[in-house]
Subunit: 459 residues, 2 copies
């Protein structure tokens, strides 16, 4: 029987980073990765294969090269069972691999609700991280004109925008009043939705679907309000569920929502088995409640932590809960969020103030590629600590959102932000006197000082 | 005699932000700003009036509107003396203003070295923050073809690039081997220099000038190495000196380099007088040595701190030294630096390792606007604390540099970065598995762990 020191199951973002980290930190250990797929897709790039990146062939994670350069062994195969007593993992092929430490990075699969009649019809798709499936779906979509996308989260919004760009007649159906409303506060979600509508996507908010109809091929969807929409193809973007069969059958405890339970070192109940990424349970950094957020970036943070703690624990290398840092772009406008939204913070019972400021992302505003930049901060009233932030702007919004992520993770308060130095440059950022992040912090400070709600938007 | 609670002298970035902060925090106090100029220019936009923003009229700080909206009084006039005993300030016009608290934001003036023969010739220019001067300079430059720029710091580089874009024949002379070498490590400075050269600027590194020659109009410059360069115009970008005459005559202590000495609350020796921005002495955040860096963004941080501490001190609202966060763009490539460079850290005697990683700023790299992104981190070997960082990339480099600024200001160490969550999106950032900031931190960690210099650039 083959033996290895570290066995990683799965090689999407989490498995890749866990293996690389393990080899970086424990360079004398043998690290082996087992995965089912011949080729791994870049997960967040998937919606863009339908337009901007053109084909799944342009969206391949360069993991194989990285593995061979780092001296990590890769095997293509499906892990079917774990024997925790013998510390072995059995593959579909029948072969077994012995491990010292096992890392489960088994990912997630698109949800296709049981109650949804017609979900099995031809030309009803989900969006799995599966190259063959997506290639065939993309080929078939060529002959389809009318596409209904169900679910206005990030995947649904991004695919709708890309298919619209590619000339399809796209209708996006979302059960909440507006798209992206699970991630952003309503005012920001509405701005994103309006850009999507301006670009040509038909958005039906506040509409659930009742069933999908058709004979063999899909012909349309019936909404809860009785309206029927014709469709040549339907794409279900209704979320993902964790792949935890392997863990469950090995007797590892799962959460109520079926995620593998881990500690802050990313260890399962069996301290030789770690779980990371979409299959692992997460808690929210601020609320401490279980979170169903699945993000490649969170997965990579967990993967680094697991990789570093495999053979010796470090109290300073732990996972402290997911910040849920999201960003996306619709056309030239970027949207980002980190930590709690205002809505979520109020729901959870935090006593907060919100500071907002809208400025520009270059200066002076007479520069040709200047865009508006809006920052909204959610601030604990008693402590002044930043609990969350939302951003709208140009393409620098991704890094600006990450800056807010660092602010939250460092538990910085309003005073720390107001005394911080930032760097500014006409072609790259807002002006030093009108930097929206600092102005938003100033507006929050006014409200805390004077208990003055009008301060919220004042310059 | 007129009386005010807070008198601010100067209304460039520092004066503007100090006045706005004072009024925000102490809303019942009367705040008055006195400045010489009819109109204030956006300081960092000045190099761009020669090209991208076209005219000084497109580069005006919208301070007057902000003052009137905030209820701040503005007077155009020059402050000529301070009577500290009576707490009054006299203007050129002869009128006097009584103050409770005085904020000196008197800025800086271009250096024109005494030893430089020919500096007084026609068509020899400096780059002051003076609209009338720049308008006249810009008008005269229209008829000039050959321009020699002396000094390859940010202002010299940015003006050279803009004049080159505007069709001038530009030669940039720098006494150090490469442009921007005071701000960046040599390898990065060389990359910036090469882009500048590719765009058509002639760069003469390692060359000081000896004198400027000509009859009435400038005809050229003579370099230290004996070479003569013909020139229709010469622009001296040889740094700035603080405007501290007013403070000096009022008996306030100045540093050896002529800056006004302040404490961490930005108070001078006279606790009713604050000094901020280019005229105020700064210490480096890490080395604690005096720093001659003049940055609008640092000035604004000081201004916020002064404004908050005017009438009551707060121990959590202090200035902890300048981080020197710079960024610039040459063509589509952005360059940024925060904190110590490797060169500077070694000069100062820090025991460091440097982690570097070059990746891309979008993902997958097949997306059309993808650019390379390089991050270099300077890390204290004993503590793992981040002392500095340098970045090359696309236009998100400005915010990425600010992220590193927050990392330094929070005294984060390698473990804190490696366990941090970042958000990623194909159209906005690098991939979660190849995010250069985290990869650079990983490479630094390897060197600390294994004392392994080859780790520096490993993936």
């Amino acid at each position: 029987m083959e033996k290895t020191d570290v066995l990683v199951i799965g090689s999407s973002a989490a498995g890749l980073v866990a293996a690389l980290t393990a080899k970086r930190v424990y360079k004398d250990k043998k690290v082996t990765v087992v995965r089912k797929e011949e080729k791994t897709l870049i997960p967040c790039g998937i919606p863009y294969v339908f337009g901007s990146v053109d084909s799944t062939d342009n969206n391949i994670l360069p993991s194989d090269k990285m593995f061979s350069e780092a001296g990590i062994e890769l095997q293509i195969g499906e892990a079917v069972s774990i024997n925790r007593e013998n510390k072995t993992c059995k593959l579909q092929s029948g072969s077994e691999i012995g491990y010292e430490k096992l890392v489960l990075a088994t990912g997630s699969t698109p949800a296709k609700p049981d109650w949804l009649k017609g979900a099995q019809l031809e030309n009803v798709y989900t969006v799995p991280k599966d190259k063959n499936y997506l290639d065939s779906m993309q080929e078939k979509l060529k002959s389809h004109k009318k596409v209904v996308v169900v679910g206005g989260g990030f995947i649904g919004v991004e695919i709708s925008d890309e298919l619209n760009k590619a000339g399809k007649d796209v209708t996006l159906v979302e059960i909440l009043p507006h798209v992206l409303e699970l991630a952003f506060d309503e005012d920001i979600a509405v701005k994103a939705e309006n850009i999507l509508i301006d670009r040509g996507v038909k958005v039906l908010g506040g509409n659930g679907i009742k069933e999908i109809f058709g004979a063999q091929n899909v012909e349309g969807v019936l909404l809860n309000n009785g309206v029927k929409l014709e469709a040549d193809a339907v794409i279900l973007a209704m979320g993902y569920k964790p792949n935890t069969k392997l863990a469950k059958e090995a007797g590892l405890p799962l959460s109520a929502k079926n995620f593998i339970i881990t500690d802050e070192y990313m260890r399962t109940e069996d301290t030789n088995i770690f779980a990371i990424g979409d299959c692992a349970e997460k808690r929210d950094f601020v609320t401490r409640k279980p979170s169903s957020v699945m993000l490649a970036s969170t997965a990579c943070a967990e993967a680094r932590i697991a990789g570093m703690n495999l053979f010796k624990l470090s109290a300073v290398k732990t996972f402290s809960g997911t910040i849920s840092i999201f960003s996306t772009a619709i056309g030239d406008t970027g949207f980002g969020v980190a930590g709690l939204t205002e809505t979520k913070a109020r729901q959870e019972g935090f006593d907060i103030v919100c500071g907002e400021f809208e400025g520009i992302d270059r200066h002076p505003g007479t520069l040709s590629d200047t865009q508006k930049q809006m920052v909204k901060l959610v601030v604990g009233k008693e402590t002044g600590i930043i609990l969350g932030g939302e951003v709208i702007g140009g393409k620098s919004v991704g890094e600006l959102t990450n800056m807010i992520g660092f602010i939250i993770q460092n538990r910085m308060d309003i005073n720390a932000i107001l005394t911080s130095q930032i760097g500014t440059h006409p072609l790259l950022t807002a002006s030093p006197a009108g930097y929206p992040l600092l102005k938003a912090a100033g507006n929050a400070a006014v409200q805390i000082m004077f208990n003055n709600k009008e301060g919220r938007l004042s310059a």
